[in-house]
């Protein structure tokens, strides 16, 4: 397999093409002068202008962002704690693992209807922001745990032991040694949780209340009547562009720091 990396590279490139084709098409269509997604008839920025002036879309975007940020914050904090809890073997760890894998494998429609029934009929939690937040944390948590745990379990315990031997208190050792080591995984977990909440259609569609419609639910309701609106296409394009830009900035900073560290090492 590794004797012909170019063949493998070609397959990987094709998979990337598959992943990016619809995104590229969305970007092109967002500048289309007509409403159509399949036929490009001319260039215009009118959909971006309409997006900027559409208060309904912007309001539900704000609500969706607030929800995604709150959900990501809660799931990241308690999910990271859980990942540390699973670090070493103890009786009952297998049971915890099964519990934590449930949200990953239970279909969304099942979680959605279950939460609807529970919130409405048993717990008396009104549908809306609160119910959405409870649900979103419940289905994002496990993803945070999985991502952070893979980093935590690969971590060298001797690093923390060395810090303790050198006189660091448990808190200082955690802050200066453990936390920097797991930080990338925590950030990745938070991004995952944000994304899951931000893009959720199915579960949210059961739990939105009056005046608390999230953007994906709004788009779904609108799309089933008259197709997806060009403004949403424009918004999606902006989101991908922003993420790609953040990634590029991250890569540039990382390589700049690596080069700086390298030149310092050369001096020494």
């Amino acid at each position: 397999m590794n004797r012909r990396p170019w063949a493998l590279g070609a397959v990987a490139a094709l998979v990337f093409l598959f992943l990016y084709a619809p995104i590229a098409w969305l970007a092109i269509a967002s500048f289309n002068s007509s409403r159509s997604l399949s036929r490009i008839s001319g260039l215009s920025t009118q959909w971006y202008a309409e997006l900027a002036g559409d208060t309904r879309v912007l309001d539900s975007l704000r609500l969706t962002l607030q929800l995604a940020l709150a959900s990501a914050a809660i799931s990241t904090v308690i999910g990271t704690l859980a990942a540390f809890g699973l670090r070493r073997a103890f009786p009952g760890r297998g049971l915890w693992t099964v519990l934590l894998s449930l949200p990953l494998v239970v279909p969304e429609v099942v979680m959605g209807v279950a939460m609807l029934g529970f919130f409405v009929k048993i717990a008396g939690i009104p549908l809306g922001f609160g119910a959405l937040l409870f649900a979103h944390v419940a289905f994002s948590l496990s993803f945070v745990v999985v991502v952070v745990r893979s980093r935590v379990s690969g971590m060298d315990v001797r690093m923390e032991e060395a810090a303790a031997d050198l006189g660091a208190s448990p808190f200082v050792a955690f802050r200066t040694v453990t936390l920097p080591l797991v930080a990338p995984a925590v950030v990745a977990g938070a991004a995952f949780a944000f994304l899951l909440s931000f893009d959720d259609v199915v579960i949210s569609s059961y739990l939105t209340g009056v005046g608390s419609t999230t953007l994906p639910v709004f788009v779904y309701a609108q799309a089933s009547k008259r197709g997806i609106s060009p403004e949403i296409v424009a918004l999606s394009t902006l989101m991908v562009a922003a993420t790609a830009l953040l990634l590029i900035i991250g890569v540039v900073i990382a390589s700049w720091r690596a080069r700086k560290a390298g030149s310092v090492a050369q001096l020494a």
């Binding site: 590794n2 397959v11 969305l26 699973l86 494998v105 429609v109």
Partner: protein, 279 residues
């Protein structure tokens, strides 16, 4: 109990409480609903207990829907494996210092709205769409395009679930000792034999975890088949959805949800301990 046990459980308690209240309790309620009697009023599901919902759910009339759902889910899992494995292996083996970037690049498309992506596929697969036009140049185009076919549904599902396959596969590939491949060649194994006897067992936990993350959720999805599929696009998920959204028949919807949950539990048992460290 030991200190370690106490510490671990203390760290896990917030997560346990959250999942207990907002996930396990609702799932338990669904089991209860599934044995209730249908009520078309506000109550939805009432006493007395009955197994009527299960008898209805297992009615032969639903068989074609279950069959279609199963075919979609299995085909999606296989397609995700076929696309995801070369990609994960390539990134882990040849990605070098760009590994993180390449992995992030797999996820970037998912920062756009899921519905927008599905509609983009709709446009691309349309009779006048790009795919049909390009295929037309080599005479492979199809009248009316590829929309509203089973293939379009599997393609849409594969697109949606591919990252869930790539990530665990990547974790497994990254841990794999690539020198084993060289060793296998040196010992006279061919490519196929090396793949099936060295590589596949080595990354099997990743294959298992990825398939698990794709198969069951794909079996429950109903939005993708609805948007990309043909005239009769009902799936297991859409039948459950109908029972709840219209307020139609909560006990029946619950019974079907329980059947899907049984499938989840079966798959988790089959996975056993092998996939545990990846998932």
């Amino acid at each position: 109990m030991s200190r370690r046990w106490l510490k671990a459980n203390a760290l896990l308690t917030p997560t346990g409480l959250w999942l207990g209240i907002f996930l396990i309790a609702p799932l338990a309620i669904v089991v209860q609903f599934s044995f209730a009697t249908r009520d078309t009023g506000v109550a939805r599901a009432v006493l007395p207990w009955t197994t009527q919902a299960y008898l209805t759910a297992l009615d032969p009339a639903f068989l074609p829907i279950f069959g279609r759902t199963l075919v979609y889910a299995v085909a999606t899992t296989v397609a995700c494996l076929l696309l995801g494995f070369p990609l994960a292996w390539f990134i882990a083996r040849h990605g070098g210092r760009f590994r993180t970037v390449l992995l992030a690049a797999v996820l970037i498309p998912f920062w756009s709205s899921y519905l927008a992506r599905i509609y983009a596929w709709k446009a691309l697969l349309d009779g006048e769409g790009l795919v049909n036009t390009v295929l037309g140049w080599v005479g492979l185009d199809r009248d009316g395009g590829f929309l509203l076919t089973h293939g379009a549904v599997v393609l849409g599902l594969t697109y949606g679930f591919l990252p869930f396959m790539v990530l665990p596969l990547y974790v497994a590939c990254e841990r794999f000792d690539f020198r084993l491949v060289e060793a296998s060649y040196d010992l006279g194994h061919g490519r196929a034999s090396t793949f099936f006897r060295v590589v596949l067992p080595g990354v099997f936990t990743g294959v298992l975890a990825g398939s698990l993350l794709v198969l069951v959720p794909a079996a429950g999805d109903f939005v993708t088949p609805k948007l990309l599929g043909g005239v009769d696009q009902s799936t297991f998920g859409s039948v459950i959805d109908d029972q709840f959204r219209g307020g139609n028949n909560w006990p029946l919807g619950s019974a079907m949800a329980v059947l899907l949950l049984v499938l989840v539990v079966l798959v988790l048992i089959l996975r056993g301990r092998r996939g545990e460290d990846v998932l």
